[in-house]
Symmetry: D2
Subunit: 342 residues, 4 copies
């Protein structure tokens, strides 16, 4: 396959970002089609590129023989049908997280792919491609720090403008990244999750539990703490500290980037700017993720997070949303991986 | 009172450190007496200073009219009697943590001091005197970051040589510092504590839960996570991150101190040395604590952590040791502060 | 121009890196041809890509109508002829530094381009594309720190394996980057340069002045200090501190990247790995430089460092090599920019 | 000598700071007398301590048999006479820098002390007592980084309110610290100094060269660059980077202390406060310097920077003030150390 012809479904903030990435920053790929319920938005975006068709029906885009591979950046509620269509049409697909809205539907995708007989699906857990997270994985796997014991995650967003935002979304849409990071770095499943609700910030919508503190227990007995804070007012901050038997690692330490001192009214200050959002913090990770997906698709392979990774993360978050209601630990029940052929 | 004449009870690592501090690094104080069950150790230490008497019976040291104030660095199990004697003899006393072995005995000291009618007791929570913790308190209290929502603590020791070391000691002797930090920075009591036991490091004694992860709930609904790891093999690392409504603070960030790059076999490295133990990490805090105690005692005041602070910390740790057995949250029951006159 | 067809001349370390960049990591470009005196090396490299021709004569590559644009990564001594051929054939060209071996030859290229009547040449000063240097430029130009007063540069390489390495090369091949950075950040020409030779490291070849300390005076009176150290044994370290009237900026601070603590024989350590060489330190900058050059070439523009920038840097380094011999300041004589039409 | 009875001459900002240090933060010393031309200022300060006499004539204070040791914090122009009186009366003396106003007068003090037959004088180069500088010295002396090749110093003050401030004072009163640091860390004399004047900041007084860039050549061929900037508007920043054959060291890196993120109008920021002045940045160094001087004086020793160190620093600064006028290197002529008995 000389050049991978890519179609994108859903061109909100994330999908539009991917469109520019495929068209302007990726080798050996061409953006050929986009689909979005908002036809005007789709047309406006398509006009920014050469030779990109707007296709009204996402299923038509998937079925189009001129489309080799699909990026799904639509809302999670329509992922199941769209990914399934990709599998049916044997299209390589990069699906943004969450894979689907509950674990049963995610499992159906795992099974469908198993039936199809070839891996086709990569789930958009882009942190695995961030250079520091990737290096952390290599160092932990090298064994030179001994066994991994703990992870401590920090995940902060400046604010959530969505007036329909609910506590569960913090688990399903934000914490899901820490779920994948924990499974990735430990190389183990999560067996239990507790989601705690401290007194909320006054910047959260009424009734929304923000920030949240979560605890995962790993299959090997390791433990993971995560703070997710969606209205921290400052900016986007994502950090991960791994504690192993003979040392520790931190990815995403604060105070990176250009450093400045500045005169002040009274005291001068030192410091820099916090990332405004994930598009700048993980710009490199997204670029590497998409290029890696393009390269693998051209070789007819899947090298990133798999359908099973998407399913397992959904299952953990489903349990996490239950825990959120009570503050009690909830056991994660996963299907037998060997039975579903994953 | 021109010069404060200080006696020290217990001259193990901590007491010997305090002896040198009083004699060599503190203004307006004189080390005049030491007491220790190990008479040889006491004699050897006394010989390093001018005019320091060895008194075999700690109660005699406390009662001695030539001793104005006492530092208690003996094992926690004898603290109650020794502090009580100090109160009875109206001696200013700086007692190392833990105040006593259980909350009932600590409460008795609170009551005894109330009966005595004047504050005499300061508990050795020296982190309050660390410049970064102290500044953190000032910034949080200033309100310019809004209400405090969360604390995340890290507390690591290189190793524990004690062959009798047990899981409970991590709560009572180490986590007790995070208990005080949480109460200090929030300015609130802790209402509930959970102590979790991840799979232990292979460097811990058999049966010892190390590391531990703890969760405190504050009276105002705030939450505190703490990792305590007593056999991390690396060195001494103590860190505290406060998360408030409009910003965050970190005391004890990694990578402080002299920075170095060094040629290596393959890759060169950047970095520095981790503190070997608390005596170097908190050298300044201990100096400031003891000087502050000397100054206050000469003015017949107590300005550091009080008997109530010592009692409340003991009560939280007592509940924490219960939680350690089950991993379930345990409610902290405190006496009515107004009833005991504290 | 739909896809930019790129030919590369010289496929040593730098050229091979660019080949992979164009073929595997750049959008809207195709690597179509390479030329190198070492035919075997060229053939081996070409075999790693699809449809890349090996052309023995670089002049033939430049003239080839199937080649739209050329990257020159050959030794500096042959740059003049190759760049001139690109100008003659109206090919967009990205030429690695140094532009040429002396200022007279560089000036001839400036004049040739002026005669051609359209900008075609970009010089490979990739630091301008490094995110931190680029942000530094924006902040300094914003004026919110006031006028720029000083720059302090650090530029260290692990070692130089070349047995023919001479002191002048440190000026011409390494310091040339600081020369461009100074001109870029100040937006001014350099009027005088002093190159000092401290007692050399024992890791340098006999007779080679390494490290070197240089001082530039800018047209506006600002000053620049630079340490260049080519055998520092540690790794690759490049840093720039700008001092302005109301604040400072540092790009490339030490201690970036993944952070680790590790148990040691005696003292544990904190830190990370130093970049081994420029390919990792400036990986992002090279990617951005080449993508930007591809995009601009497709729009028939030049947006990076120009032929004049290449000439001016060469002129400063020529003066610097004179200064190296005496340690005395040498005035930089530049052609009249308006006369040469640059 | 049980308690060292200290008198202080000159109680401006520095002397008043030392008064509080001796009285409130130092062991085994008593502040007994102060002298200052401003009698009111002296009386007000004395009133803050117990038993401190105000003596109008500094020579009387030095001669007073109730005074064991003297701290001189008066203007440099009267140091020679006062130090000489201390030597004559065999009083241990800690004299703030600069030792005297020119090298001839400093040399007379070296000779006077030699005649007295015992070391009595310590010069107030307190950076030698800063924990990071002291550790840097130990690491360099250990030899594990190889021979020291270069130092790069940064020395910034927020502003200079003095309306009589002149360019020479930057050399004599500020750069003198870098002069001592260079001699201390290399363990060698400085043989030549160049002081360069870039275009000055608009915050400097008319005609004052600020910032300045200096170059020292060491006796062994090593080289030292120093930026001194007295009106940087931001705060107090002092940094030293040592470059050795197999690694580097940095003392006083930026971004130390309490770290904060704060919400902003647009972009949130990370960072902290810059030290306002030397009293906070070097608080610990001053405490350690004075305690060390007290301890040594009680043992009838001098352990800090000696009279020779003070003389050599003055000689270098004298040459530096000459260089400031021309920008040309000036050779430093030192007396023959063996001849003067130092």
């Amino acid at each position: 396959m000389s050049v991978l012809r890519v179609g994108i479904i859903g061109v909100g903030m994330m999908g539009a970002d991917h469109a520019a990435r495929v068209a302007h920053r990726s080798a050996n790929a061409a953006l050929v089609a986009i689909a979005d319920p908002d036809q005007d938005r789709a047309a406006r975006l398509a006009a920014r590129f050469d030779g990109v068709r707007v296709i009204s029906d996402p299923m038509e885009l998937i079925a189009d023989p001129q489309v080799d591979a699909v990026i799904i950046a639509s809302p999670g509620s329509v992922h199941e049908d769209q990914v399934l269509a990709c599998i049916v049409h044997r299209k390589y697909v990069l699906c943004e997280k969450p894979l689907t809205m509950d674990s049963a539907s995610s499992l159906r995708l795992v099974e469908a792919e198993a039936v199809a007989g070839a891996p086709l699906l990569q789930v958009g857990f882009m942190r695995r491609f961030d250079p520091e997270y990737a290096q952390m994985k290599r160092v932990l796997d090298s064994g030179r720090l001994g066994r991994t014991l703990l992870l401590h995650n920090t995940h902060r967003n400046k604010s959530v403008p969505n007036p329909d935002f609910r506590s569960e979304m913090i688990v399903r849409d934000s914490l899901v990244h820490e779920v994948d990071v924990a499974r990735f770095l430990f190389g183990q499943e999560i067996t239990s999750i507790t989601v705690l609700s401290p007194a909320p910030t006054s910047h959260a919508l009424p009734g929304v539990a923000d920030p949240q503190v979560s605890i995962f227990t790993m299959a090997g007995g390791g433990m993971v703490t995560s703070e997710v804070f969606c209205n921290c007012q400052v900016g986007y901050e994502v950090r991960c500290e791994a504690v192993a038997e003979r040392g520790t690692l931190i990815a995403g330490r604060p105070q990176t980037g250009l450093y400045s001192t500045v005169a002040g009214a009274e005291h001068g200050s030192w410091g820099g700017e916090v990332h405004p959002d994930f598009t700048t913090r993980f710009a490199r990770a997204y670029d590497l993720e998409v290029q890696s997906w393009i390269d693998a698709s051209r070789r007819r392979q899947v090298v990133g997070p798999t359908s099973w990774d998407g399913y397992a993360a959904t299952a953990v978050c489903t349990a996490g949303m239950q825990s959120l209601a009570t503050g009690e630990p909830v056991t994660v029940d996963l299907a037998d991986r060997t039975l579903v052929g994953a």
